[in-house]
Every structure is written in structure tokens, then in C-alpha cells.
């Protein structure tokens, strides 16, 4: 009796969030997918609800879309790599070396950029990278383009990498590090053979964020990417400029599929338990 009642209560509590997830999120995804199979009137831009595979045909036959897809994947991979490289020393210091008071300060420092608006940070980098900005005064600036874009995105998503890696390293028992030292291993060797293998799932967990966020970004590209375009820009331009929603929907399924494959691969590493 009591069991049914608590089950009912849990059900009632969970209904609103499940409805939210089901209607607002999954239904939107479903609508997106359906739209991808519709056509469009070239003059008025009205959607024509007739089943067609033309959008996917364009996607696979026009080479520029392949180029943009691979470029986007490449940028996402690079941003993830840069974030992993930068995040590891910070996370290691926070988890294993810093005193508790310093650690608290560092956690706040890492989280702080998340409290500022995305646009403010992106425009700050526009100023930094400008030909008359601070980087140019110091001697060199990559300007607006690929390098500037990778720097900006790596900066934007860094906290999402630091936090899971920090959490993963915190769980690493100190005894393992001491045992490695007692057996005569150097610090570098300990990192390579003990710390990194154990922290790997944490890196993978962080990469889910950095990779997926880069995959969908189109605003930073507009602000610091120069003439560069990524997958998100093509989707955005097809919604906004070209008014070709069916094609935008078709192209938007690409990152969804990529992320599903990525998550399936990640699940095998056991990293999802680290999220």
C-alpha cells in the first residue's frame, strides 16, 4: 500500500519534467527530422509538405557540405585536444597539490567565466584578436580566422573540461601515487602510467561537452571566425538568409547523428558514469 503511494508520488513529481523533456525536446527533434523530408518553394520560401529526399541528396552530392562537415569535425577535435592539454595541469594541481582553501578559490576561478554572458566573452576575444588589439601590441595576433576561432572556443569551453577531469583525479587514491613513487617511478612516468589511464574516462566525459558544443557553435564563428563558416552557420543561414528550413533541418541531423555515434563510443569506455 505504502509502496504504491510513494510510487504515485514519484510519478507525479516526475511528470512535469518528463513532459518538458518529451514535448519541448523530443517533439522538437522529431519535427526537425520530419521537416528535413519536405520541399520548399524557391520564390516565396513556403514549405511544401511533399515527401522528398532532395535535401539529403544535395547534402551528399554537393562537395561544399562535405568540406564544411569535415572542417567542423576537425575544429571540434582540435578544440577538445587543446582543452584537454590545458585542463590537465590545472585539474591535477587542484586535485592533488593545492591546499583546500586554494582549491576552493581555484574551483571558483574556473567556474567564474561561466557566469558571464557567452556574447561578452566572444566579443572580448574579438577585441583581443583585432589588428589593433592587445595581442597585436604584444607582437603577434592570429587575426580573425581558424586559429582565432580555436583559441576562442577552447577558452569558452575550458571549464567543461576542467571540472570532470578534476572530479576524476580527486577520486584517484593518493596511495597509488605513493606506491608508484616507492617502486622507483619518476613523476612523469607515474603520470603516464598511473594517472592518465585512470583519468581517461574523465577526459572522455569532458570531451563530450567540448566536442558537442563546438559542433553546434555558430555565433563565435561569426564574431571571430572571419570569413570562415562551420556547420552551424550553414544551418543558421538556411533558416535565416535562405529561408530554406527543410534543408537546414536535413543538415542539422548531421551533428545529431555524429553525437549519437560519439556517445555510443563513449559508453563503451565507461566514461558516462563520470558525468
Amino acid at each position: 500500500m505504502a509502496n504504491t503511494r510513494s510510487g504515485l508520488r514519484a510519478g507525479l513529481l516526475l511528470t512535469p519534467p518528463m513532459l518538458w523533456l518529451g514535448v519541448a525536446y523530443l517533439a522538437a527533434l522529431a519535427a526537425l527530422f520530419v521537416t528535413a523530408f519536405w520541399g520548399q518553394n524557391d520564390f516565396t520560401g513556403e514549405i511544401e509538405k511533399v515527401f522528398t529526399l532532395d535535401n539529403f541528396k544535395t547534402l551528399f552530392t554537393v562537395p561544399v557540405y562535405r568540406t564544411i562537415t569535415f572542417r567542423t569535425l576537425g575544429i571540434a577535435a582540435l578544440v577538445t585536444a587543446v582543452d584537454a592539454l590545458v585542463a590537465f595541469p590545472i585539474a591535477l594541481y587542484m586535485a592533488k597539490l593545492a591546499r583546500p582553501s586554494v582549491r576552493r578559490l581555484l574551483v571558483i576561478a574556473v567556474l567564474m567565466p561561466l557566469w558571464a554572458s557567452y556574447l561578452v566573452k566572444a566579443y572580448a576575444w574579438r577585441g583581443m584578436l583585432s589588428a589593433s588589439g592587445p595581442l597585436a601590441w604584444l607582437g603577434w595576433t592570429p587575426g580573425y580566422g581558424r586559429t582565432g576561432l580555436i583559441i576562442t572556443l577552447a577558452y569558452l569551453w575550458l571549464p567543461y573540461m576542467v571540472l570532470p577531469v578534476f572530479a576524476g583525479l580527486e577520486r584517484l587514491p593518493d596511495a597509488l601515487l605513493e606506491a608508484s613513487a616507492d617502486l622507483g617511478s619518476s613523476s612523469l612516468n607515474t603520470i603516464r602510467r598511473v594517472v592518465l589511464p585512470i583519468a581517461f574516462p574523465a577526459f572522455v566525459a569532458g570531451s563530450v561537452f567540448t566536442f558537442s558544443l563546438t559542433l553546434g557553435d555558430f555565433i563565435a564563428v561569426k564574431i571571430v571566425g572571419g570569413p570562415y563558416q562551420m556547420l552551424g552557420n550553414v544551418v543558421y543561414d538556411n533558416v535565416g538568409a535562405a529561408n530554406n528550413l527543410p534543408f537546414a533541418a536535413a543538415y542539422a541531423t548531421v551533428p545529431v547523428v555524429v553525437m549519437l555515434l560519439y556517445l555510443a563510443a563513449v559508453r563503451r569506455t565507461g566514461a558516462l558514469e563520470n558525468l
Binding site: A31, F43, P227, Q229
Partner: protein
């Protein structure tokens, strides 16, 4: 931030619209343009027959600089006098490209829109704007005759709006960094430009027409007669020219603030612009001209939304903005030839209308005003099929690569 953050809501609106479109009936969606000169049948949208009481509000969708209420510059304000005179509280939204305006009008949230020729016909054909009863507009008689009943603001001799003004896309450069001063669009299409990496271009498929115009003058063997009527071969030539320009481009702009800032910092030193943006750049020396090839440009029309909730205020706004005072203020600030004859006496600068050749139909006819390319060639050719705006959009994505 107002001007920057609209991009995201705009995208969200458009997406929401797509979803809403799943349920709604597709009325009027099967109207296609059957001939270049307005030979298509627009959906039946009722025209207002008489004016009633003002509703107390009006929402305006316009190019940046067309409806200033003093928030950008306290000295520039012609919206407040309108509000005081009519009691219609105005909310203003600015847009960056014709395509954006076209999408926003589909939401039905706007009572009036200032549309260029590459959006106006599409809005008429999709039933998003209503025919305009010019008898209800006092300012109609003051509009220059050569702007009335044009293929981009009327269908079958029925006006769908009232002209605002017209002007040309200009070539702008930093006079301290670009020497000698350019005279041709060739300055932005030169593959060996000394300003490589500091060139800018307008981020819209319609910019293909700028390349086509350049080819029209420099490669006559392509046979381009109208930069908005390109067959496959001509479009390919324009695309090739733009692909050659792409490595020289520092960035493409559609946000006027972004272009203003890039010129001020020197990240961009030469490229296409509007007079309005040139006027905003006061910190650094810039100059803007119509190059020797002439130019693409716009001829804008105030139109009324077919789903307008405040039609009386909308008519009041159209009458005011196309009337001598409103038209003078907006055209002067934006930097274009006003459509109202009397506006020329109201602007603070007496040479203004001469500078912009406001009374000169011959000069106006030399500018290639933005049009929507459609498969029926706008130059009257019937032996080939022209590329339509959908083709241009795909081509533009390929240009950017």
C-alpha cells in the same frame, strides 16, 4: 546590445514558425511567379477602405536607421514626435538582410515593414503584406512619380506600399591606409590586391549581383544584361570571381555594427558599405563612392502586414514616414535619396538632394536596385532558364566554402 542579440531570437522565431507550419494550412503557398514583371497572381488580401481610430500602438520592422527614437543618438529622433502626434506607441526592430525581414514578416508580429526590392515581391507573393489604399495617404501625392507603380512595389497596377527612398551600395575605404584612392569595384575583386586579408563584402546571396555587375562591365562576352538575371554560365562566372575574392576577405558582414567596428580597428580597410555606416565612422578617416561600374542598390517601400493588429496606426506611420518631415529625417540620417518631393526642402543640408540625385530619374535608372532573382529571366530572355534565389543561396555557401 539590442542590435546584436536579435540574431538568436530571430532564429528561434523562424524555427518555431517551422514547427507551427506543421499544423497550419498552407494557404496561398501554390502561388508562383509566372512572369518577370509582376505577372503572378498574389493571394487575395483585403485592402483597407477607410481609416478608423488609432489603436495606440504600432510595431515597425525596418532597416537600421529608418526609425530612430533617440536611443542611438539623443539628437536623432523622429519616432517620438510621431508618437506624440498620433498616440501610437512605436516598437522598432531593425534587421540586417532582406531574408531576415522576409522571415520576420511571416511571424505576423509586425504592422509595417520597410522592404527592399529583393524582399517586397516575395512578401506580396506569400501573402504577408496587404495592398495599400493610396487614397488614405496624404503623402502619396508628394511621392516622386518615377518611384510609383514599379515592378517591386506594385502588382497589376495595385500599389503594395509607399516608397521610402533609394540609394546605392558604396565602395568604402580607409583613406589613411588605402592609396591611391580606388575608382572601380576591381579594388575588391583583384586577386593580387595589396589589401588582401583586409577586404570585406556583404554577407548575403544578393552580393552575387555585385560580382555580376562587375562582370557585366568588364567581360561583355558573358552577355550579362541584368545582374539579377543570370543563366547557369553567367552565375558560374560570378561565383568564380567571388571564389577568387574569398582568400582576400577578412570577414563578411551583415551586422552594420560589426562592419563599423572592423573599419575603426583597421581589421578591414576596403569593401562594400551603406552611406549610413559611413556616417557612423567618425573616429577614422573613410571615404565612400559609387565606383565607375555603377552599383547595386535599394529602393525601399513601406508595406503593411496582412496580419496587422494596428492597421490604423500602421497607415498613420506610413503617412508620417513618407510625408515631408518623416521622410526627410529618415532619408537624411540613412543617407539616401528621399522619395517625397517636399522632403528636399526639409533636410538641414540644402545640397543633400543634389548629392543623392533625388530628382534625377536618369541617375536612378543606372543603379541596379535589388530584386529577387527568379527562374523567368528578369531581363526578358525567354530562350534560357535563369537561376533563382535558391540557386544563389547554394552558390553563396559554396563561395564561402
Amino acid at each position: 546590445m539590442r542590435q546584436r542579440t536579435w540574431r538568436i531570437p530571430a532564429a528561434v522565431c523562424a524555427l518555431a514558425l517551422a514547427l507551427a507550419g506543421c499544423g497550419g494550412g498552407g494557404s496561398g503557398s501554390d502561388n508562383t511567379a509566372s512572369s518577370a514583371q509582376g505577372g503572378f497572381t498574389p493571394p487575395k488580401v483585403p485592402m483597407k477602405q477607410s481609416l478608423g481610430k488609432d489603436e495606440g500602438a504600432v510595431s515597425i520592422l525596418a532597416w537600421p536607421g529608418y526609425a530612430e527614437d533617440g536611443s542611438n543618438d539623443p539628437n536623432v529622433d523622429w519616432v517620438t514626435p510621431f508618437e506624440k502626434a498620433t498616440g501610437c506607441q512605436a516598437t522598432v526592430k531593425y534587421y540586417g538582410t532582406s531574408d531576415e525581414a522576409f522571415n520576420l514578416m511571416k511571424t505576423g508580429d509586425y504592422d509595417v515593414v520597410a522592404a527592399s526590392g529583393d524582399a517586397s515581391l516575395r512578401m506580396i507573393a506569400s501573402g504577408d503584406v496587404a495592398p495599400v489604399n493610396t487614397d488614405l495617404l496624404k503623402s502619396w501625392s508628394e511621392i516622386r512619380p518615377f518611384l510609383k507603380y514599379k515592378p517591386w512595389n506594385s502588382v497589376n497596377h495595385q500599389m503594395y506600399g509607399i516608397p521610402q527612398g533609394w540609394g546605392a551600395n558604396l565602395l568604402m575605404w580607409r583613406t589613411d591606409l588605402v592609396k591611391p584612392a580606388p575608382t572601380s569595384w576591381g579594388a575588391v575583386f583583384d586577386k593580387n590586391s595589396p589589401y588582401a586579408g583586409k577586404i570585406t563584402a556583404y554577407d548575403s546571396p544578393i552580393y552575387i549581383a555585385d560580382a555580376a555587375l562587375y562582370l557585366m562591365k568588364h567581360q561583355p562576352d558573358l552577355g550579362i544584361k541584368n545582374p539579377y538575371a543570370l543563366d547557369d554560365k553567367q552565375l558560374q562566372a560570378a561565383v568564380d570571381l567571388l571564389k577568387g575574392q574569398r582568400p582576400q576577405v577578412s570577414e563578411y558582414w551583415s551586422d552594420y555594427l560589426k562592419e563599423q567596428q572592423a573599419f575603426e580597428t583597421g581589421d578591414t580597410v576596403i569593401g562594400t558599405t551603406w552611406q549610413f555606416i559611413k556616417n557612423l565612422i567618425t573616429k577614422e578617416p573613410v571615404k565612400a563612392i559609387i565606383p565607375s561600374e555603377s552599383s547595386t542598390g535599394w529602393s525601399d517601400t513601406w508595406m503593411i502586414g496582412s496580419q496587422s493588429k494596428h492597421p490604423n496606426c500602421a497607415y498613420a506611420w506610413m503617412d508620417y514616414i513618407a510625408g515631408p518631415k518623416g521622410n526627410a529625417a529618415s532619408a537624411y540620417y540613412f543617407g539616401e535619396a528621399p522619395a517625397n518631393i517636399k522632403a528636399c526642402d526639409m533636410v538641414p543640408d540644402k545640397t543633400f538632394c543634389d548629392t543623392f540625385h533625388a530628382a534625377d530619374p536618369k541617375y536612378a535608372n543606372k543603379i541596379w536596385w535589388w530584386r529577387t532573382p527568379i527562374s523567368q529571366c528578369l531581363d526578358g530572355r525567354t530562350d534560357v532558364k535563369c537561376t533563382d534565389y535558391g540557386d544563389w543561396t547554394t552558390a553563396w555557401t559554396e563561395v564561402k566554402g
